[in-house]
């Protein structure tokens, strides 16, 4: 495991922008293979249609009803609910300091930020958001990515990260305030997706219109964004769902 941890941090360093090797032809090539590209491309097209025909119109309408500030608060609320799972993942990865900070963020924001509606921890206490997923934990434990996978409705992932996401979904549902039935959970999740989308309207189209091959562009963005490990939901959308 110690070796795996070392390997993990080595990988993080290779992606430093100030290091010239990060611009090498070799390092740009996707390190994770994409053997089922035809399937992934089909799913990418499907997700694109879902976004353009369903999610975008709904989120646009929603953004006209609710002001941006309130939508921001709703986004914070959902993010805050995910903090205990992030903290647990940090713990499982042996990153104790970050685990503690994330847990303090949850405590501060739940109380001082009124159920997490405001991000008082970042604004007042200067504790920034930090991302930790179960997929990351699996990687620290030595599990490989498997291959690149575009999941219908959920977007870019890898075999490992998608499995991790499923585990997280079960873990969060255990303490979510609305764990009574599937219908409620699905509508709450949809609400969360619509809210996130409403805060980033137009970004997906922009990135798509600037790309030569949107499939490659979003695949590259997924891996780049993941390796930076920040809290980086660029576009909360089926094709660009980097981190939810």
């Amino acid at each position: 495991m110690a070796l795996a941890v070392l390997g993990f941090f080595d990988g993080a360093r290779a992606d430093d922008f100030l290091d010239d090797t990060s611009y090498d032809d070799q390092s740009v090539a996707v390190k994770t293979p994409d053997p089922i590209e035809p399937f992934n491309r089909a799913m990418f097209t499907f997700n694109d249609k879902v976004y353009v025909w369903v999610l975008d119109p709904v989120a646009t309408g929603y953004s006209k009803v609710l002001p941006a500030d309130i939508r921001g608060c709703i986004g914070n609320f959902f993010y805050n609910l995910g903090e205990p799972v992030r903290s647990a993942n940090f713990l499982l990865q042996g990153r104790f300091g970050e685990s503690g900070l994330t847990l303090s963020r949850f405590t501060i924001n739940s109380i001082g930020g009124v159920f997490g509606l405001a991000d008082a921890a970042a604004d007042e206490f200067k504790i920034p958001r930090k991302r930790a997923t179960f997929g990351q934990t699996l990687s620290v434990w030595g599990a490989g990515d498997g291959f690149y996978l575009v999941v219908p409705l959920l977007g870019p992932s890898t075999l490992r990260d998608f499995s991790g996401k499923m585990v997280e979904a079960v873990a969060t549902s255990a303490y979510y305030p609305w764990n009574d039935d599937v219908e409620t959970s699905v509508s709450v999740f949809s609400g969360q997706v619509v809210n996130d989308t409403s805060l980033h309207l137009g970004v997906y189209e922009d990135v798509k219109s600037m790309s030569f091959d949107p499939y490659v562009a979003f695949r590259n963005a997924y891996f780049q964004s993941r390796s930076k490990g920040g809290d980086n939901v660029l576009v909360p959308n089926p094709n660009f769902n980097v981190n939810r």
Binding site: F17, L18, D19, S22, Y23, D24, D25, V28, A29, V30, P67, A68, D69, I70, R71, G72, C73, G75, L199, H200, D206, S209, M210, S211, F212, D213, V216, A217, N220, A221, Q224, S225, S227, K228, G229, G230, N232, V233, L234
Partner: protein, 211 residues
Amino acid sequence: MLQNKFTTLVLFLVSFSFMGIIFSQSAASATPDPTEQFRPFVKKVTDILVDPETKSISKNEKGQRILNVFRERFDFREMSKRVLGQQWRELNDRDQREFEDLFTRLLQYAYIGKIEDYSGQKVEFTQQRIKGERAEVQTLLVDKGKSIPISYIVLLRGDQWMAYDVVIEGVSLVRNYMEQFKEILSKDGYTGLVQQIRDKIAQIEKEQKQG
């Protein structure tokens, strides 16, 4: 005796602090502060965007004006070199210049056209990292309900820090285009790539005219 020791100590401290001043000054003149160089640049760009006078001029002219400001802080040649990777070294001088010009135009249409939506959001300079001749200037674009981290990856040219990459929410623009270009290069070769960039510029130009 005691006084003597005291004088020596004072003298020692005084000379030591002078040394400190000299060293810190020489260090400061050796590497200028990247954030201090990018602060006025960002202000210049946002000033143009919110200036009521520029609202009336054509989109193309506005794009040109902003591009001129970008040239002060962006090294488009370095950007073009990195985005092509191996291929750049195989081009002759003329082709390199042609590609640089083409890629700059692509960025002008694709990105500089986009930042027109800017309407007075705050840009915070959060942090900087210096590593030899390279540095990262981190900023945060604070909008209603969200904030977007934007970093400039810069290189020291003489006493000027020049950007050669922009990282938005952890995604490097150069590295993203690099992977796309690499696929095109392996399929259609360099001439195919140049043609595709030309087509893309024409397409965006048309869209902007309609919009």
